[in-house]
Symmetry: C2
Amino acid sequence: MGLEISGYSGLVLEKLVSINAKIGDLVIIRYNGSEYSGILMPRAQIGSDSNHIVIKLSSGYNIGIKLSSSSEVALLKRGKRKKKTVADKPPEINSNLPNVSILSTGGTIASKVDYQTGAVNPALSAQDFYDTVPELRVHADVKAKVLMSALSENIHPTDWTRIAKAVASEIRKGTDGIVIAHGTDTMAFTSAALSFALQNLPVPVALVGSQRSSDRPSSDSAMNLIRATDLVGRIDAAEVMVVMHGETDDSFAYAHRGTRVRKSHTSRRDAFQSPNFYPLFKITSSNFEEISLPLLRRDSKRKLKMKASFEDRVGMIRTHPGIKASLIESLIESDYKGIVIEGSGLGHVPQVLQSAIKRAIDSEIIVAMTSQCISGRVDMNVYRTGVELLEMGVLPCEDMLTETALVKLMWALANFKNIQDVRTMMLTPLVGEISMRSEMAQYTRIGREKE
Amino acid sequence: MGLEISGYSGLVLEKLVSINAKIGDLVIIRYNGSEYSGILMPRAQIGSDSNHIVIKLSSGYNIGIKLSSSSEVALLKRGKRKKKTVADKPPEINSNLPNVSILSTGGTIASKVDYQTGAVNPALSAQDFYDTVPELRVHADVKAKVLMSALSENIHPTDWTRIAKAVASEIRKGTDGIVIAHGTDTMAFTSAALSFALQNLPVPVALVGSQRSSDRPSSDSAMNLIRATDLVGRIDAAEVMVVMHGETDDSFAYAHRGTRVRKSHTSRRDAFQSPNFYPLFKITSSNFEEISLPLLRRDSKRKLKMKASFEDRVGMIRTHPGIKASLIESLIESDYKGIVIEGSGLGHVPQVLQSAIKRAIDSEIIVAMTSQCISGRVDMNVYRTGVELLEMGVLPCEDMLTETALVKLMWALANFKNIQDVRTMMLTPLVGEISMRSEMAQYTRIGREKE
């Protein structure tokens, strides 16, 4: 049988052999009164578990099912043998290409399916992941490096420092641009962190992720990676950006400013948006269209200013009816250095939190205010609640995203000793994270009418 | 001078008299090197403070400025005397109108400017607020009642109970519909709370607010109030809804489902949106256009089922890089009964929180998961992090809004004793708060391209 039912052993292998099933066949599994049908998938680790069978459901997701001797496996339809595709042979390489460094941190873009749980795990090797997109070589002379292999929900502020240092090292070596493969869950936090850590950039840095793993037909990983590599190699800009699909199909990608972007949909390929702002570039297969306004331009002689430390004793509190002051008090007692409050509306909190906020500020904790509305701007001069908070010393974060304000406060607290300097930094636009005025067009109503 | 500089006394009155300034004149104030110009506004409380002058800036906002004897006040332009408008005389009343009860809870829609701080405070009298919109009498035989006078950031779950009981009382008296005037900051929380508290409604309930106070030319309070009153008097629906502007101009309003709506902009009049869903009705001055699908229809004989208790020991935690498990541990120690975690992506948390979450569940605390993406659906079967959390007993909230999940958990914990019943309630669609499948069209990209 060999590769045709690769990875299976024991009970599952026995059942598959008995029905002469091969990888790629449509099978049905019946157990405990349930039925699942799907395409038989290979197992990654031979011999790790002999009781799980992995199938790809019609939804495109893989599941692992634990079989017992009473479970039934039947063949529904014979699969087609996969042909070698054009992508299997590496394309021709041009000798005059820009140098691009790809740093892999993990995430779906660098992931493989875990055939034991049926879930997706980050891959371990950058080579694996680079080999799957041979088209990259058309756009750049690419050097790939694995920095870490983390699901992005586990990225910690200390990882931001590590990534920033790795970027600085590539810049010292004279790269023309850097692509960072990253999980999408916290990619916007990392892009904000790198924006503050790597000021005065000489060349562009693009974070790139994937909303669908590369074993799915709808995967966005190859296109995002190719567009990001092409962009950082050639574009006349030196900003930290996030490159992701602009629409749900493969028509184009957007490069968002690193301090302005958030993941705004759980699963769509065009999940990344820039509320209160515009993307910087629209990237098609042939063209970079510049959309937004003042940009830091590429200048290989510009000297990078790195401030890559982050204070992790910074909390984020979102207000709601029934919230208790003890939440803030426990942050004071745990020696937190900063708190970002995502208040309601223009920047308000329930009265019941006010004395705890005052106590926090009296304890030299920086308290900054953003809005849970996401779109729009904090304005604490309109209502009495806001005025009172301003008088206490709460910092109004203007139109900054909550995620960006949190990262900026972590950064400012670690890099400036004087509390007054930290306060000033929070209110000063440093890398495009705050606009002093908003444009009306930057708000689109969602979920309006049925089409 | 009399009314022409009403409310001013002492130093400010002296300066105004010296330049012969009247309310409505454009004045300029110079002090400590700063300059502010704006329309001279009246003061509300005579004699309360003789050192503040209140002007309306060109932005439309009022500010209060404290004068000293060295401050200079000069007249820039004489204002026009205000003419009586058509709205000043009450319109004709039709005798065959529906009965609508308006309950006022406070907020901008029922607010007056506080001329001491220059900020906006809730008005004290429902009559005041009802008198300002005489057009209401065209649409319904209106009875107005002041329930409370709160800025909505201060609304507490016990207020939801109070509002629900007041609605039930109006229903018992045979009203055709109920309008609740409410601050916009937490209006979506209250609408969700009333949706769960007032099941099996016979008539519609509409919450209505205002993003701009009624002393501003751009105020949306009259239109929203009129549209909501018209809607609940006549519409064939018996749902809890939020009625707010559909666009930034006065063209139409939307009635959103109470469990599906969130405030999505700090200041725009069309701030309310229904992510993952559609509004129920589009309301023009002449027409109600039905947009969405299955609705509970009006039936005055239907018997209201009221379950209006809420457990306030429910926390909301939004994950981020650097978040610490002590946040969850402090909720366990404070005897919380439920926690809504707004995780990343499809419903993930950093590994570092996992053991605290397990400890919470082992302590019989209900832990529910939503996504900070806002749009889309939690799916914890795709990645290992999600699978592990599901196995621990974390409840996946599907496409429910975080705000709605929080309110639902507060409600379920207060109304069902058995923990298994609470878990079942959380996962069961009760009043349209969960859809079992999503439509792609329900996501619109924001901040795309410059127009």
